[in-house]
Structure formats: C-alpha cells, structure tokens
C-alpha cells in the first residue's frame, strides 16, 4: 500500500472515530446500522463480487447470527462466545448452501438462495418456542468487553467500529492472499482456473461460507444494538437491500460495500427533506447509476478518473522495440 493510500485510510479511520461525537442518538444509531450493514455487505461482496456466486440469502445469515447471539446472551452467556458460535454456525450453513452452487449458477442459484432465505424466515416465524415467533426476542444485553461497558449508544458505536475494522482487516487479508486471487479466478473463468490446479468445488464452498460468516457477525452485532429481533428484520427484502448495497457501491471492489451501505442507509436520511418524493428520487438515482455505470459508484469514479487522465501514453511495445 503506497503512502497516499495509507494517508487516506488514516483519514477515513479518524473520520469514523469523530463522526458520532456531538450527535444525537438517532444519528449514532444510523451510523451504527451503516457499520453493521457494511460488514454483512462485505461478506456478500466476497461471495458475489469477487467469487461471482449470486446469493439472495445474506439477510438470512444475519438472522442466524442475530438469533444465535440473542438466545445465548439471554441465557447469560457472554457476547464474545455467542458471536463466535453465531459466526461458526453461519460458516457451516453457508458451506451447505454452497453445495447447490456446484450444480446451478446465475439466476438459478439466485432462486436457490432466495428459497433458503424464505425457508429461514418461516422457521424463525413458526418455531415460536425458541424464536418467539412473530413477536421476536427482546432485551438482549449490550456486552461489557474487557471491563468496558458498551451500554451507551456512543460506546456501542465504538464497539461496532472495532468489529468493523477487524472484519475489514480479515477481508483485506483474505483478498490479498492467494485465496483472493482464486476467488476472482472462480468469477472470471472457472474452467480455466480448474485446469490450473484450482479446486473449484472447494473454493466455491469457501466463498459462500466466508461470506455467510460475515453476515453472522453483522447479526451478532445487530441483536444487542437493537435489543429486539423478529423474523421480518431478516426477510428477503433485506437480502435484496444488501444486494443493492454491493451493486450500487461497486461489486468486486474492496470499498464498494461500505460506500453502497452508506448510500442505502444514509441517503434516505439525507433525502428526507424531500418528504414523499425521496423514494422516487432515490430509485431514479439508482436506475441512472446502474445504466451508466454497472461497476457502481467506485466503477463510476474509475471511469471519471480515466476520462480526465492524460490521454497520451507511451506505447510499451514500441518502447521495447518488439513489434507485438
């Protein structure tokens, strides 16, 4: 990473640190939501953006994470252990959901994952004894982490921020490793990748499992943040919202999901002054963006950067003196 990028990263982290200071509870809650949805969208970005596997089940994994955490913390188990179990459960379920991806692709796979999300919703709603049914679960405690309370809204924001930074660090590590390259190969040309020794089946399952685990972490944070969960919070509409975050931000770009989550979570707040028109404006902006830049906002930024970059470049082949 060059010094300019490091500086930008440092500025970004400072901005995240100071953003909630002096703000009211609602703004802090909105920022918190943005961070946790960014974590879930980061996971979906790995599955969809990098590995090319369509998934409409990410909210379902948030649901698994949230319910596992809620049930355990309500039983008196510390959040850290609950979160570890929530993440592991999502990893395993994601691994299983990956199996259909070995047989079907694209829109067929989208329907398989959609069916899974719907099935999960029904289980959460109907298994009343365990999940509380439509009434959900309430009163999940906010944890003390190493003696530090996260009970206040500002404290919980910093707790979420630490989780977000750790999750982003793990994602960066995966993507910079040969695994990251293998995920991209899976997206671009799986037949060629397999001929080069890549175990396509294993890598596909890992793409689902790791992406789902990020959803589990987001759910594990959502449970103590909202302190109330119910099945509708993890329905199909939320999976579509997460898909929108990844696509609008820039699918396959590291910062795409963060930017996309900011647009989906924060833009409606910014457009609130337009009253009844905000959804129309919001939808129109998304349509225009997708039509002009399928690479999302980051893709748009790259397009603009390329447009204003100096046009004349030395031809490498002539410089080398070989007529290729």
């Amino acid at each position: 990473m060059n010094p300019f990028k490091l500086l930008l990263l440092a500025v970004g982290l400072v901005a995240l640190f100071v953003a909630p200071i002096g703000q009211g509870n609602y703004i802090i809650y909105t920022l918190n939501s943005w961070l946790l949805f960014s974590i879930a969208a980061m996971g979906l970005n790995l599955t969809l953006g990098y590995a090319g596997q369509v998934s409409l089940a990410q909210a379902g994994f948030m649901g698994i994470g949230a319910y596992v955490t809620a049930l355990m913390t309500l039983a008196g188990i510390h959040w850290i252990f609950a979160a570890v179990l929530a993440i592991s459960s999502c990893f395993l379920v994601g691994l299983m959901l990956g199996y259909p991806a070995l047989r079907v692709q694209h829109h067929f796979l989208a329907f398989v994952t959609l069916a899974f999300n719907t099935l999960l919703f029904l289980v959460l709603r109907n298994e009343e004894e365990m999940t509380g049914g439509s009434l959900g679960l309430v009163g999940m405690p906010r944890p003390d982490i190493f003696g530090l309370s996260t009970g206040g809204n500002l404290q919980f924001y910093y707790f979420t921020l630490v989780c977000f930074v750790c999750a982003a660090g793990v994602m960066w590590w995966i993507l910079r490793s040969p695994w990251g390259r293998a995920f991209m190969a899976l997206r671009e040309n799986p037949i060629r990748a397999e001929s080069l020794g890549l175990k396509v089946r294993r890598q596909t399952l890992l793409a689902f499992a790791i992406g789902s685990a990020f959803g589990g972490l987001a759910g594990a944070i959502q449970a103590p943040l909202v302190q109330f969960i119910e099945p509708h919070s993890f329905g199909l509409i939320h999976s579509l919202k997460l898909l929108l975050m990844v696509v609008v931000g820039g699918s396959g770009f590291f910062f795409g999901p963060m930017l996309g989550a900011a647009v989906v979570i924060l833009l409606p707040e910014v457009l609130r002054f337009t009253e009844g028109y905000y959804l129309i404006i919001y939808s129109a902006l998304v349509i225009v963006l997708m039509a002009y830049s399928p690479g999302g906002l980051i893709g748009l930024g790259q397009k603009l950067f390329d447009k204003f970059r100096p046009k004349q470049q030395a031809r490498h082949d002539l410089k080398q003196g070989v007529q290729l």
Binding site: R181, M184, A185, L196
Partner: protein
C-alpha cells in the same frame, strides 16, 4: 523415469451413432513436440478432451507418466504436471498479467492454509516475472490481461500453462487468430522453452506452416482415425494425408 510421458491406448469416442474417434493409439516421448493435425471434424479436439479427462472415452484409456487419466479431474491433472491451453482465449481478463501468471502457479505451492496465511504471492513473484520476461511481456506486467491484444493474450495464456513447471503441455490451436509477427515470436518462445526445459508439447493446429516448422513428429487424424504418423517431411508427402485434406 520412462521415456514415454503420454500413452494413448485404443481410444474411441462415440456420440450416439457418430464415431468421433476410432481406436486411436500413440505414445508421446519425453521432450518431443508432437503435432496433432487433421481436417475439421476429424476428432482432434475430442481426442484432446479424452486425454485431459474432460470427456470419458467410450473405449480405451490414457496414461500420463504411467498413471491413468480416466476420471481424474482437471485440477488433479494439473497437479500431476499436465499444462494446457484452450482454443478460445482463456486468460482472466480483469486480473493483471502478473496475477494471471501467479494464479497459475499458486495452487502447486504449499498447503491450503499456507496460501491463506503466507505471502500474498505464494513466494512466486520472481518466477512469474522470469516467465513474463521470457515471453517478452514485462511492459504489460501490471496491465489487465483483458486489455491486451489477441496475440499478447495468447502469450499470457502460454505463460500461464508453463508457470507450474509441467512435464507436458497440450496446446489447443495456439496459432489461431494470431498475426504472422506474433506467430513467429510464439513459435520461437515455444521452441526455446522446449530446448531449455525439456518440456513435452502436444499441439493441435490448423496452421500447417506453423505446425510443420514447430513439431518434431506429426500425427494425422481423419474422420476419427489415425491415418498417418511421421516427421513433418514424411507427413507432407504422404498421399493419404493429401487426399484427406483435399477430399480425394
């Protein structure tokens, strides 16, 4: 180590009532460059896919270094030391040339966990750069492969096939769609690589000039049957081959 690296034993492949390949047998010696030619529909690609385990032969079997390839998945074949290129361009277009070449070697290095926790390049950058330099692609090291010309992408494709240091590489129409200058360059690189590393090549090709000047031995297929085998000079003057090509 035996002298024969690839043995094809009585391979036949039928699609319904059509005999795409009929009872073809041949051996490929270590270090040789074997050409596989024939008119369109002669069964070259079907035979190629049978050798590479992508099609299950109706009869017969293949061995690479004495190990049968039946039912072996392409990834495992690669780990057995078999490289290949495809008829269509098959680089990873959104990845840089360096990443394309690194990816081609990384699965052969270390374990799954070491590939996650170890260095991002799996310790292969130097080797990849040498290969990129060998194919004279150094100026494009950090360029997205998809933005290169067709011929340059063919070179990247070849570099990828060689990255894991395979004992045998099967090249499916490497000259297809490549201009004359690039073709000369590609041929030179393949011959040099064969000379320096002793790697065996099996080449399917339609470009007679290319295949005659590259290969040390040529096998000719027509209507799924092996009709001739010999040096380029012998094949060029073989009446059966001339008839098969001219429809005589």
């Amino acid at each position: 180590m035996t002298e024969t690296i690839l043995s094809v034993h009585n391979i036949s492949k039928q699609f319904g009532g059509i005999h795409a390949v009929s009872n073809v047998s041949f051996d490929v010696k270590r270090g040789e460059i074997l050409g596989l030619i024939g008119p369109n529909g002669s069964g070259k690609s079907t035979l190629f896919n049978c050798i590479l385990g992508q099609l299950k032969p109706s009869a017969g079997h293949c061995e690479i270094d004495g190990r049968p390839t039946d039912g072996v998945r392409p990834a495992d074949l690669s780990l057995m030391g078999v490289g290949r290129t495809f008829q269509q361009l098959s680089v990873f277009p959104k990845m840089t040339v360096l990443d394309n070449v690194l990816l081609s070697g990384q699965e052969h290095e270390g374990s799954m966990l070491s590939r996650l926790f170890g260095p991002g390049d799996a310790g292969l950058t130097k080797k990849a750069e040498q290969l990129i330099e060998f194919f004279r692609l150094t100026p494009y090291r950090d360029t997205e492969a998809g933005s290169l010309s067709y011929g340059q992408q063919k070179l990247v494709d070849a570099a990828m096939a060689f990255m894991a240091g395979p004992g045998i590489v099967l090249l499916d129409e490497p000259a297809g769609g490549v201009n004359l200058t690039m073709l000369t360059h590609l041929k030179d690189r393949l011959m040099t690589y064969n000379r320096e590393h002793g790697t065996t090549f099996v080449v399917i090709e339609h470009n007679m000039e290319f295949v005659m000047s590259l290969c040390t031995r040529i096998i000719v297929l027509a209507e799924g049957e092996l009709i001739a085998e010999g040096t380029p000079e012998e094949v060029r003057s073989n009446q059966t081959v001339i008839d098969a090509y001219l429809g005589g």
